[in-house]
Amino acid sequence: MTLFRNVVFVAALAGLVAGLFMAAMQAYATVPLIIQAESFEGAGAGHHHHGEEAADGHSHGEEAAEGEEGWAPADGFERFFYTSMANIVTAIGFGLVLVVVSEFAGGIAGWRQGLFWGLAGFATFALAPGLGLPPELPAMPAAELGARQTWWLATVVATGSGLALIVLRRTPALAALGLVLIAAPHIVGAPQPASFETPVPAALHHDFVVAVTVTNLLFWAVLGSVAGVLRARFADEAEAAQKSFA
């Protein structure tokens, strides 16, 4: 299981670095906008949480029962802590996927290749699904959750496969198939809410979409580059150890 251990080690370290970086970026760029949008939640549409209010005005089928509020982190440090943990843990998850997929393509050889792998991750996991399902703020209407999650997942798989066909296979026919795969989810279209009416100002939402997209770009660039550096160093060291035994 040496290979498994090496992959997990590189992904965990790269994920830790990129996740901490992402948490710091979010604390400045996205979370303040989320908190601002939450102030509109009492005003009609939207869900509720963080124990602020009783259940009323559910515009989209959240499963919480009337007046029942599950555990939620307290505002302030606790909330930031859980957001950071979620960032680090999923960054490690994204790192695992990134490293595993790149191993099948021969492995990332250094920071620059890693940067390109990171950009591919950004396109696959943030850019493509974000086109059909733009980042939402609290108090914004959205289509049924299950349908959106299905579309999100299908788009990620189609975009990732499409990019792989274009970059890793070098025939025009497969490149064309790759483009079709990338375009297909957007031709089908993402599930949209019946009404887009929201108390959240359009300018606030616009700022949020930009903040989410740019922070994701930087996150993926860091994740890929760090994974590339670690992977190269790791492979070198293992190589040297092998030689010294020979």
């Binding site: 996205t30 949480h49 555990w71 979620a86 959106r148």
Partner: protein, 59 residues
């Protein structure tokens, strides 16, 4: 299936390589799925700001 492949500084058989990589990949997908997609109330609330900030479908 038993030809040894040099990957990531280790020599592994093609079968073992596939198995180990698949295992690591599944672990990654499980982690992302749990934090980003779980319908559990507590998991949702803990990762709330994160989910919004990553544009995961939420609520």
């Amino acid at each position: 299936m038993n030809s040894s492949i040099r990957t990531f500084g280790t020599d592994v058989s093609a079968q073992s390589r596939l198995m180990q990589l698949a295992l690591a990949g599944l672990l990654g997908l499980f982690v992302i799925g749990f934090v980003g997609f779980s319908h559990l109330e507590a998991a949702h609330n803990a990762g709330h700001d994160y989910r919004h900030s990553m544009a995961f479908p939420c609520h």
